[in-house]
C-alpha cells in the first residue's frame, strides 16, 4: 500500500508508538510483523485509544472499532503503517 517512491511509514510510526505509550523499547527493535497487543508489545485497549489520538493528530486518520478491518489494522506495526498510508489525510 506504500505510495510509489515514498518511504515506509514504519519507522515513524514505531517512534510515535514508543513516544505516545512511553514504552521502554527502542523503536527500531519493534518487529514489523510482531503483534502489538496481547503477547508482543503487550498493549491494551487504553493504549489503542491513546494511539488512535496520536495517529489522528499526526496523520488525520480516525480509527473506528466498527471498521471490519480493525483487528487486522492493529495486528502489527506493518499492518498499521499500511492502513495509515492508505487513509491518511495529512
Amino acid at each position: 500500500m506504500t505510495r510509489p517512491g515514498s518511504p515506509s511509514l514504519e519507522p515513524d510510526l514505531a517512534k510515535l508508538i514508543v513516544q505516545t505509550l512511553k514504552l521502554k523499547v527502542d523503536p527500531v527493535s519493534i518487529q514489523p510483523e510482531a503483534p502489538l497487543f496481547g503477547e508482543g508489545l503487550g498493549l491494551d485497549s487504553i493504549d489503542a485509544l491513546e494511539l488512535s489520538l496520536a495517529i489522528s493528530q499526526t496523520y488525520g486518520y480516525q480509527l473506528k472499532s466498527s471498521d471490519p478491518e480493525i483487528k487486522t489494522i492493529f495486528s502489527s506495526l506493518r499492518a498499521l503503517a499500511n492502513a495509515v498510508e492508505k487513509y491518511r489525510t495529512k
Partner: protein, 448 residues
C-alpha cells in the same frame, strides 16, 4: 420486602437494545430470557462474560429468574477467573463468543429470535434476593465479595434516573463506553435503562469516531455513560454530535476544565457519579457547577469522627467509604482522594497490597513492589513495579503477571533490581520507592 417487576415500564414493542440497525423489543427480550432461563444448568453461581450488553442482560435476567448469583469479577485475566470460580464451586460461564476458560463449563447466550406473546404478568423478583456479587481488590491479595440485592440495583437505578431527570416513557438511547460487568456499568448502562423502559446500545464504542457515529444514530435523546478517559479522547478529537444529550461520567475524578470543554463540545450537561463497588453509586454532581457531591435520593453519607459510611434502605449495614471525605450538615460532601493503599488506574480501583501479593506469588520472585507515579501528561498514568528475581527477565515476569492481572494493571515498566530499599523494620517507605523511580527514570529516561 416485596417483589418488583424484572423490567421497567416498556410496552411490548419498545426497543430494549439496538446495534447495527438491529433491535430487540421488550417482547423479544422476555422471550430470550425465558428460553435461556429454561435451559440453564442447575448451578448456584455464574460468570457472565458476554461482550454484548444485550446478551449480558439476557444472561443476567435468566440467572435471576433461576435464583442464580452472577459473579462480577474485578479481573478478566483467565487465571484470575479460574481462581474466582474455584472459590465458588459449581460455577459455570455464560458467553456470547468463542472464548473458553479451561476447566469451566460454558453455556452460550443465544438470541433465539423467537417471538413469544407478551406475558400477562411480568416476572417479579424479591427486593432482598441477592442477584450479583461484585468483587473488590483487598490488601490481603484475595478478592473481597460484595453481595448485591435486586433492591440495591433497582434502587440505585431509580435514584440515578430521578436525579438526572429521566422519566418513564422518555425517548432516550443509552450508550456506554464502560464494561457492563463492573458496578458502574451495570448500574448506569444496564439497570438504569432497564428500569426506565428506555433503550440501550448493545455494543461498547471505544474510539471517539465510534462514539460519534453511535450517538448520531440514537433515536431520540442520547445519554453517554463513560469515563474521564473517553471524554478526554473525545474532546481532543473535536467531534460533533447532536446537541442536548446527557453525559454521565464515573470511575475516576473528572477535572472541572475537562468537564467544561466536554459540555461545550457535546452541547450537553456532564454529570458525574461518585460510587464504589461496595456501596454502588452514592452521589451525583454536575461537575462544572462545583465540587460538592449530593447523595442520591435514599442515600445518606454519615461522618463519625474520622470514618465515613454510606447508609441506604437497600444496604444491610453501613458501608465504609474508601476515600477521605468531609460531610456538610445538609448531607452533601467533598472528596479528598483515596486512602493510601487504594489507587486508580484508568478508572479501575485496585489495592496496591493486592497487586504486591500477586507479584510475590510469581515463580522466582523474591521481593517486589508496585508503585503509582505522580500524574503526568497523557491519558493515563501507569503503574511501575520494582522486582527482585535473580535469573528472571522482566519479560518473563510480565508474561507470568499477564495471566493474573488485567492489562491496565500490568506495570510499565517492570524493572528488575538487585534489592529493594527496605528499612530496618522491613518496611518500604513511599519516599524510598519514589527515589528508586527517580533514579530509574533519570538513568534511562522514558521511552528509549
Amino acid at each position: 420486602m416485596h417483589d418488583t417487576p424484572l423490567i421497567g415500564p416498556y410496552n411490548s414493542d419498545d426497543v430494549v437494545a439496538w446495534q447495527q440497525g438491529q433491535t430487540r423489543t421488550a417482547r423479544q427480550f422476555l422471550a430470550d430470557v425465558t428460553a435461556l432461563a429454561e435451559s440453564l444448568p442447575d448451578r448456584p453461581t455464574v460468570l457472565n462474560l458476554a461482550d454484548s450488553r444485550y446478551a449480558f442482560l439476557v444472561g443476567f435476567a435468566a440467572a435471576i429468574l433461576r435464583g442464580q448469583l452472577t459473579l462480577l469479577p474485578q479481573r478478566r485475566a483467565s487465571e484470575a477467573l479460574r481462581r474466582l470460580a474455584g472459590d465458588y464451586p459449581g460455577s459455570y460461564v455464560l458467553t456470547d463468543h468463542d472464548d473458553r476458560i479451561e476447566g469451566l463449563d460454558a453455556v452460550p447466550i443465544l438470541s433465539t429470535g423467537g417471538e413469544a406473546p407478551w406475558p400477562k404478568n411480568i416476572p417479579l423478583v424479591p427486593l432482598n434476593q441477592v442477584v450479583a456479587i461484585a468483587f473488590t481488590s483487598g490488601s490481603t491479595g484475595h478478592p473481597v465479595p460484595n453481595k448485591k440485592t435486586w433492591g440495591a440495583l433497582t434502587g440505585v437505578a431509580q435514584a440515578t434516573g430521578a436525579r438526572l431527570g429521566i422519566k418513564e416513557g422518555d425517548r432516550i438511547g443509552v450508550v456506554a463506553t464502560v464494561p457492563h460487568q463492573h458496578m458502574f456499568g451495570l448500574e448506569a448502562s444496564v439497570m438504569l435503562p432497564l428500569m426506565h423502559g428506555v433503550a440501550m446500545y448493545a455494543g461498547r464504542p471505544l474510539f471517539p469516531a465510534d462514539i460519534r457515529s453511535v450517538l448520531a444514530d440514537v433515536a431520540g435523546r442520547w445519554m453517554l455513560v463513560t469515563t474521564p478517559l473517553h471524554l478526554r479522547a473525545c474532546v481532543a478529537e473535536r467531534m460533533h454530535v447532536p446537541a442536548g444529550g446527557l453525559i454521565l461520567s464515573a470511575t475516576a475524578p473528572l477535572g472541572r476544565a475537562l468537564a467544561q470543554e466536554a459540555e461545550q463540545m457535546f452541547q450537553s450537561d456532564v454529570h458525574e457519579i461518585f460510587g464504589f463497588a461496595e456501596a454502588g453509586s452514592v452521589a451525583e454532581r454536575r461537575t462544572v457547577t462545583g465540587d460538592r457531591w449530593t447523595p442520591l435520593e435514599g442515600v445518606c453519607v454519615v461522618q463519625e469522627r474520622d470514618s465515613c459510611t454510606v447508609q441506604a434502605w437497600y444496604l444491610p449495614e453501613p458501608v465504609p467509604v474508601p476515600d477521605r471525605i468531609t460531610v456538610e450538615s445538609g448531607g452533601a460532601f467533598f472528596l479528598y482522594g483515596r486512602e493510601a493503599d487504594q489507587v486508580n488506574v484508568a478508572g479501575h480501583r485496585v489495592s496496591l497490597g493486592d497487586l504486591n501479593q500477586t507479584l510475590l506469588r510469581i515463580d522466582g520472585v523474591q521481593d517486589g513492589i508496585f508503585f503509582l507515579p505522580d500524574e503526568e501528561a497523557g491519558l493515563v498514568t501507569r503503574l511501575m513495579a520494582f522486582v527482585v528475581a535473580p535469573g528472571k527477565t522482566s519479560e518473563e515476569i510480565q508474561c507470568a503477571l499477564r495471566a493474573h492481572l488485567d492489562p491496565v494493571f500490568l506495570p510499565r515498566p517492570l524493572v528488575c533490581v538487585p534489592s529493594l530499599p527496605r528499612n530496618a523494620t522491613g518496611k518500604l517507605p513511599r519516599e524510598a520507592v519514589l527515589e528508586l523511580s527517580r533514579q530509574w527514570v533519570g538513568e534511562d529516561g522514558h521511552g528509549v
